[in-house]
Amino acid sequence: MSTETVTPEETDVGVDTERVALYAVLGGLVAFYLLPIETGLMTSLKADPFSSAPFLPPVEQFTTAKYARAFDALGHGFVNSFLLTIPATVLSALMGSMAAYGLTNVDWKGQVGILALFIAGIFIPYQAVLIPVSKFWGSIVPLETWFEPVWLLTPGIEQYHFNVLELIITHVAYGLPICTLLFRTFYLDLNDEMIEAARLDGASIARIYRRLILPLSGPMFAVVLIYQFTQIWNDVLFALVLVGSGDGAMVTVVLAQLGNNLSSVGIGLKMAGAFLTALPTLLVYIFFGEQFAEGIAT
């Protein structure tokens, strides 16, 4: 880059006032985007949310009791959510990577058609498939019934674990289109000649994946894993229909019901619960914001 590049701004005459106004607007936007979150955080730390303006920090009202109660309510949901999210994320990323490889770096006729079906799958509204999916797991492939002896006899394995397994498979299936597409964009940029060189070096399709593609996919795995983690962790729809409330309930489903039977005083509990629920995705976002942005921008 040349250091001589003149940006339009630097040539402006009224630099100062214009810049000040610009930063003022940007700061106002920061307030706009952060205010609901900040308000929630402050409220969650107050004994009485109505004692002061909601966005002001707690002074005499400071308490962490809401978090303790929220954790009691959400703790089990947390475990379930991790039980779901981690395997579903890893599986969908891995299968997406493999599918993208088979549809991008190996040449055969008809790839475009298969790929088009994958891409169209990104856009379907889940309401259009939800009843069949719930019937599928309910009566065609009822894993919890099939594996009844397993959960009856094995300590540590519960009936609802098989609902979670169904949910994992469901999330993998609906995550595959976007995962495949993300990996495909990445694999298209790989050097074709490199893969041809590996073929001439005697590597089979599987060996090329194992020794070249997979080690080179690191950056895209970061993007896809983060995207999928956020999507699956945040989901309510499938969690609600396929597992619902009860022992197997995901943290989002528990949160949606949290404090509803309380008076508006329960609002602090709701806020604390919201923060606990958001914590894993917030951490992921703070540490891997770039990858998150890349994932959603595609």
Binding site: M194, D201, G202, L212
Partner: protein, 386 residues
């Protein structure tokens, strides 16, 4: 043992809209064991497709490719005992140089680690890259990557080397250095080599034989000098040599060839070769024309005017127009002559161009086939006259 035969090989691509594109059309070449063959031609002539069919990266639509007498058509690339050097080098970016070179041996042989190590070391020393073995490709310069790519091919000890424009990403100086080095290595190893390039200088300087392709068809396969002095058709004549051969449309009238701006008398021998053809293309290489300021004395001397001079240092490219008496205009045909760098010529200067008949090529106007090539009687070997 490793002669490579292309027998009426064709490649047809079918596009989505049903269009058939003939990329390679009925090409036959025999490449002898240890021979260095350069496939040369303009962009889109089918040379890379031909190479990729040999490699097994493209299917063969028609014809047969045999290696050491064995038909290769249905064999996977890995079963063909070939190694290829790519234009982009195609190094594996996450592996060290050593791992890059070992990869092929690990995947295609049952060699032990020690043996692989030994092979890699000896190939690396041959290429002078021993101290780079621990580095990753991105830590190497273009020239070093090039050497690694070659080393990776050498270490496989294949029956055939295939090279797809391997030098085109290097700067001019490094390219000419690598040209010599590649030639030396190929001679030392004695491995049959097929080398694809669009650069006729590479073709001329490196090859044992050149195969010139155009529009999917083999135009000529011969030694560099054969292709230069005895081109089988107008395309080869124009493609090989820089600056290109000059061509003029001529019509046979008695013992004269009439061009737009000049008339060229020919001998009876030449007339015999022309036979009953009436329309020809006359070709003359720029270095075969001599310039003087003495005025036209012979029948093959022509009055011309210097249009543009391109000084190259060692020689000058002089663009001439025939002096037809009238005002010079845009439509005047120019032709190019090279003269020594110490010979000063200026634009606008009238000069006499001598076009010797023994250096003239004639081509059939419609088919482009060579009718008469220059005579090689006056070829001299340094120190003695033949």
């Amino acid at each position: 043992m490793a002669e490579l035969t292309l027998d009426n090989v064709s490649k047809v691509f079918v596009e989505d809209d049903g269009n058939h594109i003939v990329a390679v059309d009925d090409v036959s070449v025999d490449i002898r064991d240890g021979e260095f063959l350069v496939l040369v031609g303009p962009s889109g002539c089918g040379k890379s497709t031909t190479l990729r069919m040999i490699a097994g990266l493209e299917t063969i639509t028609d014809g047969e490719i045999r290696l050491g007498g064995e038909v290769m058509n249905d064999k996977e690339p890995k079963e063909r005992d070939i190694a290829m050097v790519f234009q982009s080098y195609a190094l594996y970016p996450h592996m060290t140089v050593r791992e890059n070179m070992a990869f092929g041996l690990e995947e295609s042989t049952s060699m032990g680690d020690d043996e692989i190590d030994e092979r890699v070391s000896s190939a690396a020393s041959m290429m002078g890259i021993e101290e780079l073995l621990g580095r990753k490709p991105r830590e190497l310069s273009g020239g070093q990557q090039q050497r690694v790519a070659l080393g990776r091919a050498i270490v496989r000890d294949p029956a055939v080397f295939l090279m797809d424009e391997p030098l085109s990403n290097l700067d001019a100086k490094l390219r000419s250095k690598m040209r010599t080095e590649l030639q030396r290595i190929q001679e030392d190893l004695g491995v049959t080599t097929v080398y694809v390039t669009h650069d006729q200088t590479e073709a001329m300087t490196m090859s044992d034989r050149i195969a010139v392709l155009d529009d999917g068809r083999l135009q000529q396969a011969g030694t560099p000098l054969e292709c230069y002095h005895e081109p089988s058709n107008e395309f080869v004549a124009g493609f090989i040599g820089d600056p290109s051969m000059n061509f003029f449309d001529v019509e046979v009238q008695g013992n004269q060839l009439r061009a737009a701006d000049f008339t060229y008398p020919v001998s009876d021998e030449t007339l015999q070769e022309i036979g009953d053809r009436t329309n020809l293309r006359l070709g003359i290489r720029p270095e075969d024309v001599t310039l003087s300021t003495d005025g036209a004395t012979g029948e093959h001397d022509f009055e011309t005017v210097v249009d543009v001079v391109e000084p190259m240092g060692d020689e000058n490219n002089v663009y001439l127009t025939f002096d037809t008496g009238g005002e010079p205009d845009e439509d005047d045909e120019t032709f190019v002559v090279t003269v020594g760098g110490m010979q000063q010529v200026e634009a606008g200067q009238p000069v006499t161009a001598h076009i010797p008949e023994e250096a003239v090529h004639l081509f059939d106007e419609s088919s482009g086939e060579a009718v008469k090539n220059r005579s090689l009687e006056q070829v001299e070997t340094l120190g003695k006259h033949v």
